[in-house]
Amino acid sequence: MRLLSLRPQLNPIIVREVRTRMRGVRPYAILTVFLLLLSAVAYMFYQLMMQQARMGMTLMSAHVGQGLFNGLALCEIFLVVFLAPALTSGAISGEREQLTYDMLLATPLSPTRILWGKLIGALSYLLLLIVAAVPIFSVVLMFGGVEPRTMLKALALLLTTTLTFGMVGLTCSALLRRTSRATLVSYIAILLLLASTTLPAVVWGQFSNPIGQMPPPWLVYLNPFSAVFSLTNVSFNTEISSYYGYFDSFAGLPVATLLAPGVLYYGPNGQVLMPTYRATMICFLALTLLLGWLSTHLVLPRRRWWPRLFDLGFALLFAAGLGLAYLARNWWYLAPPVV
């Protein structure tokens, strides 16, 4: 008797999660609210921009496009960072609380498939929100100023961040028995990650010798907000800014000044923007893989830490990935410009 067909099958957990998550009015209500909120943010940024123009600043259509894009991207990354762990932190602990975990483990599903299914199943709704927001982003194209390449990069960064922060929640869920505790711990971990990157970068100048040095870019590699800042400002044109003066495409939002350290450098030839998002994406991918590997051990009911063949394969692949990253270091490793 051969039960297992050779055809690859859709992960059963993804099927179930999608079935249960998309049921009822709630998912559609949340989607509507989310899109309205995003539209409101776009409108707010547009108004802020118009206000700057009324105050006498020379405003080009490209500036409006960039400003809108930055605002929307920042808003979405904020959403992803704080929603992804909420969606995944109940994935494994919820099964334990619901008393369905034993039944799941008694099936021949491998831990890797359980985790993969849980991660994608839980994040599928978030991915849907991201895709649904694309038409709002397309408003940016009306104003111009943002290359399609940049938009694709922003999408890639958004997806990587979703996976990573979803994985943080999933690991906490596999580690802890209670969902409430898993959610709390994953938020603490995220806040620590954000604080430990942004705060040192902000105060770096106060403690550097001589005082007033700019922080090195590696300090903010793990901060997704800095990555958005570095990415969405790449079309920052020094020629335009030298001609029209510095234009703050974040429309004077106070939070933007917190994101600049480590990313924006003031040199003799004007500002230089470091593309830290490349390193951020590589670090996030590595972090996701490591947390995923850790979780495959945490979900096992027994012999958790016994080495398996899977571990050897993972170690080899991970080492190969690190080797590739080393070879491509010129692309992502950024030495701070000498001032």
Binding site: L3, P12, R16, T20, A106, P108, S110, R302
Partner: protein
Amino acid sequence: MTAAIETINLTRRYDRMVALDQLNLTVGTGNIYGFIGPNGAGKTTTLRLLAGLLEPSSGEVRLMGQPLRLGRGDTQRLVGYMPDFFGVYDDLRVWEYLDFFARCYGLDAARRRTTVNTLLDLVDLGHKRDAFVQTLSRGMQQRLCLAHALVHDPPVLLLDEPASGLDPRARVELRELLRTLRDMGKTVLLSSHILSELAEVCTEIGIIDSGKMVVSGPVDAVQRQLQGTARLRIRLLRERERERAVALLQAQLEAPDEAAVQISSVRLDHSDPMHLLVELAQPDEEQQTRLLAFLMGQQLPISEFKVQSENLEELFLRLTTQLPAVS
């Protein structure tokens, strides 16, 4: 015939506490084995070990003659496991619930459809196909959970407390279902602390206490083996004959002659004016025939004469309460 389930010196410790101590259990193919014990006796631990959800501290498990290799899908396909506290996924329909587990076992689309339909008919939930799982009654959820354990058509079923929390009607239905499963050739190991239902449906029982098997074997053999005294229930045709019988037996009790039986007590059954209960000194069939011959010789109109077996509850209480004194 190979044993469907076999454990060899199976031991499981939780830190210093020994939950299961050198368990040797053999269940033949096609049997329904009832595993009885008080709470914390090691029933669930045993079932989880058999389902491959726990690692034995020492000892071995064999299913259908093959050693249970942990972390391998092929042994997990041999057993269907229903935990004692099971949950259901909210917002999932009954057929989707079974479809999910069928997918977990890698069944293709056509087989999934037929399996889900067959199982819904088997557990009599066909009319609830599109209902949400959380709206089902406890008995229905229990049956659905049992059906989930059958999606991959395993030869061995492990049911942890399948009858707990069920009303009498649902319990009868469950019993019917277990009989159907036995007819399908499945080997079932079920645990319970509600004993009365096990006697009727099980072919074999084992009593476990503090991680040790106290007694195991076919139901009647276990009962016979454990009968300390032979209690006989005698029914006479008329009430006044009962008094004569009591007087005769009392005389026999006080002054036993060599040829007759050795009686240890005679009691009236107060629930029925025609009955009396006689306890023999030894559980011996020869003694029983001699007693019957003696009563017949006295011209007593006996309409019923039978060994009253100690029911499982009494047996269980006696065994599990005596044990600490013995050890």
